[in-house]
């Protein structure tokens, strides 16, 4: 499709001279909501991001401007209750602190959790159950040319078998090192806080997959790397098994992003999720597969 668009553009450009300019547009009216993003995973300490959303053209984009402080956040199961508190880590690439609410107790398997957030006069609640099985990666390979909805790109191919007897949703995850010389998309990272250091970065696949039609069968997920690499660059790859709430949320985001590639396609509105109209986001369970080391061949 991308190529057809390219072809049309080329044909059009043969006759017509198009021009492009920056314009200022009026900010549409917006009633700010809150954003809640949190995964719970067995044997991990729970982490939850609780932030304000802002009007689209608002200049407040620093994370310390967006984090909502003084919220009372609890995570309750039938066995215990954990009170999450605000914490932060410095992100050298972003050159700013990441703010999140962090719990104290490790998440248990096969347990139902209820998240409750009290902030101002509002209360937000959602549930998730940690009964997800993770798949086992069979192998990983690399291709320099792969064609899909996103056009032609390089890809990391992940082969694994669907976990049988449950509805599964998957996405890709890779941890690797990146430095100032690494390119993200088309541009070098160029972070003043990074110097000559290399830090761990997470590459999360934007596309999410379900196992419809592939129950118990072999599945291949192709991930387009976000960061540049050289021959020998290593990454630790896992396949995330996520629950339905996360799948629906990220599936919407993926379709929204795809729609943005074509200005003639109507954008995807985020439908109300676990928090209704009051908040955007998800509270979900996930389970990562065992990590596998992958080395870029080029």
């Amino acid at each position: 499709m991308k190529n057809i668009l390219l072809a049309l553009t080329v044909i059009g450009a043969a006759f017509l001279a198009a021009c492009e300019k920056n314009i200022s547009v009026k900010q549409p009216a917006y009633s700010n909501r809150v954003s809640i993003q949190g995964f719970i995973e067995p044997d991990s300490i729970p982490i939850l991001y609780f932030n304000a959303t802002v009007p689209y053209f608002d200049k407040a984009i620093k994370k310390n401007q967006l984090v909502i402080r003084n919220a009372v956040i609890t995570l309750q199961s039938n066995l215990n209750i954990d009170v999450l508190s605000l914490d932060s880590v410095f992100d050298k690439i972003d050159c700013q602190f990441n703010y999140f609410y962090k719990g104290n107790k490790k998440i248990l398997s096969n347990t139902a959790y209820t998240l409750t957030i009290k902030s101002g006069n509002e209360i937000y609640t959602a549930n998730a159950t940690t009964n997800i099985e993770a798949p086992v990666i069979d192998s990983i390979s690399y291709t320099s040319k792969f064609n899909d909805l996103y056009g032609e790109h390089e890809g990391v191919l992940n082969y694994f078998k669907d976990v049988p007897n449950q509805v599964n949703y998957y996405r890709f995850e890779m941890i690797r090192l990146a430095g100032n010389q690494t390119q993200k998309a088309e541009s070098p990272i160029k972070s003043a806080c990074l110097g000559t250091d290399s830090v761990e970065v997470y590459e999360i696949g934007r596309a999410v997959f379900n196992d419809i039609g592939n129950e118990g069968k072999s599945i291949t997920i192709v991930a387009e790397p976000a960061y540049s690499h050289k021959k020998g660059t290593e990454g630790q790859i896992a396949i995330q098994a996520i629950d339905k709430s996360a799948y629906e949320f990220f599936s919407q985001l993926d379709r929204q992003k795809l729609a943005q590639f074509n200005p003639f396609v109507e954008p995807v509105f985020l439908q109300d999720g676990q928090f209704g109209k009051k908040a955007i986001g998800f509270f979900s369970a996930k389970k990562n597969s065992e990590r596998m080391t992958f080395t870029y061949p080029e």
Partner: protein, 765 residues
């Protein structure tokens, strides 16, 4: 008291005598109005009977019939725009059939204008929302790349909104593109575009008349919700051979016409072919493009009461792009139509036309990449049989009734496979596609009833029936338009119409895919329907030199079709899964001023309107502005005869920018949003923002005169024009990006057509 009951026999005798008396007191004047030289029928010519303060217009075959009380001398005044009027006196006190020939006016600066002859049909008739577009205006107006275009002129009329910049698509009173029925000699043209919509397929040299109906639909028209564009081809010169043609920047055209049997039978054949393919071949090895269209028509007068017409049209576009690596893209689309018509006159009061119509539209779109190819094929083929009767029974009643039946065959198909070893030919055999069949039929009755000198009413009913895959729909469509004359030059009109539509265009108003995919109604896709009411005040000034009108309308539309959010049509998209259905509403007020004759002619139109839609699956179920809602729409069109040979024309348009959807909020993505640019968007309202307003001025100057080349005299015309003369960067689309330095969102506007000069040369002999 003994009262005797009247004898039935006497009553019958009395009625018969009265009928005979009535017959004895009336005469019917009928006939054809034609061009003096070519004997071409003049459609919509005005036939006025001043003594009776009444009149009629010729129909699309140039025929008229009018019954009036007998007099010693009956005077007729016949006029047609661009022709000298003719005065006829009938003194034989009998019903008479005439052939009235009018002489065309030459370019004279001292033109004599007979005021009484000017048409005041717009005020007199019980019809509204109907515009006859003068062919001269289409020929005079500024052009894009030297191509005169019918549809570009349609976009300048009140209540009509253009589509994308530069394209011929038009939106009528809040309706979508597919709600316009475009007919060429009664055959439906499903895709009237060349060059991705920059030009229409209609070659103006072969067009006789153009009529747009956007409201107050008479019952003979149906099948679409928003408009009928009725285009009739010329019949051909019955007295002498004639050749005309032209060369523009990207294409050339040639028209040849003449008698087959003098005064009885004639033909016309007209062709247009692009030569940009030759230019592209010099400059690019990767891009190919060509288009052509051919119109042909012949007619034969079997006798004074029977007339046969056979016409056909074929148009095609083909484009291809061969990428440097492995991309291969091609598209081929076109229409073919054929119409066989038989006019028959029964007596002098009943005119009938029976037509057998065939039309065939196809579009193939394919791409090849990395040894894989995908092909989309879509097509629609109709066979249409219709018969229409017009019975002018008395001066007060003109009855129209008829029936038609259409057999639709739709070809939706797509395939994807590995390129065979023997090459990469990408074609689909149409016969191999699973076809979808449907039947559409309609009966109608219409009466144009003059109740009194002041009041007339045009009322009728249409009964469409549709069947596909075992599902049948039938409806009643009442139509009524009334006219109340307030004075000789002023009238007040109102209309009510209901319409249904059974074939739907997938709403591809986007540049994502140059595909017009038609679907017919089924159990899943319900027929679209609309109800429209309108009210208008019509007034002419200076003895009809200037026509003015104000029309207000309110239209509701049900079962509208749109894509679900985020839908990108790919070659393998299952359309049934991506469509969503809802309702629409449009209302507005249209102002129109038109000057019909003199050195300066033209019109100005202004529309204030609002069009909204509401879909359960879109915009959280809330109402939103439709994509082609334009609050303000202004067009000013003028043509000025500078000298006998030079003329200047210009048009100016201004539209409120079209709505589009901007995100209202943004949300940070955590846990690495590497592919999200760190944010995702929160949308709260569809079409919550608008592009900058659209405005443009075009101008054209042309020189037309008779010249001699080696003693051979011919008429030639040079035309020089500028499209978008002040090169305004009108928005084509707006997209959002993130400034990498500031990490702030940035809106970028893409514009398509800057100032574009054009030159064309036309000749006629």
């Amino acid at each position: 008291m003994n009262i005797r009951k009247p004898n039935l026999f006497f009553i019958l005798i009395a009625l018969l005598l009265l009928t005979q008396l009535a017959r004895a007191q009336n005469v019917t004047i009928s006939g054809y109005v034609k061009d003096q030289v070519s004997k071409e029928a003049l459609i919509g010519a005005s036939v006025i009977f001043p003594d009776y303060k009444n009149g009629i217009s010729t129909n699309q075959y140039g025929f008229f019939s009018f019954t009036v009380p007998v007099r010693d001398t009956i005077t007729m005044l016949v006029s047609y725009n661009g022709y000298f009027p003719a005065l006829k006196k009938i003194i034989n006190r009998k019903s008479t059939q005439l052939e009235i020939l009018l002489n065309v006016k030459t370019n004279s600066l001292n033109e004599v204008v007979v005021n009484a002859s000017r048409n005041r049909e717009n005020v007199q008739k019980a019809q509204m929302g109907i515009i006859n577009v003068p062919i001269k205006a289409i020929k005079d107006l500024p052009v894009l790349l030297g191509e005169r275009d019918v549809l570009k002129v349609i976009q300048l009329l009140p209540g009509i909104q253009p589509g994308q910049e530069g394209t011929t698509g038009f939106y009528v009173r809040g309706g979508n593109l597919d709600q316009n029925l475009i007919q060429l000699d009664e055959a439906t043209v499903y895709n009237p575009n060349h060059l991705f919509g920059l030009f229409s397929t209609f070659n103006i040299n072969s067009v006789n008349s153009v009529k747009l109906i956007k409201g107050g639909f008479p019952s003979e028209y149906g099948g679409r919700l928003s408009s009928i564009l009725d285009i009739n081809m010329k019949e051909g010169n019955k007295t002498k051979y004639q050749t005309e043609g032209g060369l523009g920047l990207i294409s050339g055209n040639l028209t040849f016409q003449g008698p087959i049997q003098k005064n009885k039978s004639s033909f016309i054949i007209s062709g247009r072919r692009s030569y940009i393919d030759a230019l592209l071949a010099l400059s690019s090895k990767t891009t190919k493009y060509r288009f052509y269209d051919v119109n042909a028509k012949m007619n034969y007068e079997l006798g004074p009461k029977d007339h046969l017409f056979l016409s056909g049209f074929s148009g095609n576009d083909a484009a291809a792009y061969v990428g440097a690596n492995s991309l291969n893209y091609n598209t081929n689309f076109g229409n073919n139509t054929a119409t066989l018509r038989w006019n028959h006159l029964s007596g002098s009061k009943v005119f009938s036309n029976t037509s057998l119509i065939y039309n065939d539209y196809h579009l193939q779109l394919g791409s090849t990449q990395n040894s894989y190819y995908e092909v989309l094929y879509t097509g629609i083929k109709d066979i249409n049989l219709k018969t229409d009767f017009t019975a002018i029974l008395s001066p007060k009643h003109t009855l129209k009734f008829g029936a038609n039946y259409i057999y639709h065959t739709l070809y939706p198909g797509a395939l994807s496979a590995k390129v065979p070893k023997n090459g990469n030919q990408i074609t689909i055999n149409r016969d191999s596609i699973a076809k979808r069949y449907s039947n559409e039929a309609a009966l109608y009755f219409n009466d144009d009833y003059t109740v009194s000198d002041k009041l007339s009413v045009n009322y009728g009913i249409r009964v469409p029936i549709f069947n596909a895959s075992g599902k049948t729909y039938s409806f009643l469509e009442p139509r009524v338009t009334t006219k109340l004359s307030l004075s000789e030059s002023t009238s007040l009109k109102a209309s009510y119409t209901r319409m249904n539509q059974f074939v739907h265009l997938v709403p591809n108003s986007t540049a994502s895919l140059p595909a017009d995919i038609w679907l017919s109604s089924s159990s899943l896709i319900k027929p679209q329907n609309s109800t429209q009411i309108s009210l208008g005040l019509f007034k002419n000034y200076k003895e009809n030199l200037i026509e003015t009108s104000v029309e207000a309308y309110y239209k509701t539309m049900n079962n509208q079709v749109l894509f679900k959010e985020g839908t990108r049509i790919l070659l393998n998209t299952n359309l049934d899964e991506v469509l969503t259905f809802g309702n629409g509403k449009a209302y507005g007020i249209e102002f129109f001023v038109k000057k019909n004759s003199g050195r300066l002619t033209g019109w100005a139109s202004y529309t204030l309107s609002k069009a909204t839609q509401q879909f359960p699956d879109l915009n959280y179920g809330q109402s939103f502005p439709s994509s082609y809602d334009r609050t303000h729409s202004l067009s000013v069109v003028g043509s000025y005869q500078l000298t006998k040979t030079w003329s200047l024309s210009a048009d100016f348009v201004f539209y409120t920018g079209r709505p589009y959807t901007l995100p209202a909020g943004k949300v940070l993505v955590y846990g690495d949003g590497s592919l999200y640019d760190n944010y995702y968007y929160d949308y709260n309202n569809r079409n919550n923002s608008r592009y900058a307003s659209y405005n443009r001025l075009d101008a054209n100057i042309s020189n037309k005169k008779m010249v001699k080349l080696f003693k051979f005299a011919y008429e030639r015309e040079w035309s020089f024009g500028f499209y978008n003369i002040y090169s305004r960067a009108n928005p084509y689309f707006v997209y959002l990006t993130t400034d990498q330095a500031t990490k702030q969102p940035q809106a970028k506007q893409v514009s398509l057509l800057p100032i574009i000069p054009s030159v064309s040369f036309n000749f006629k002999f």
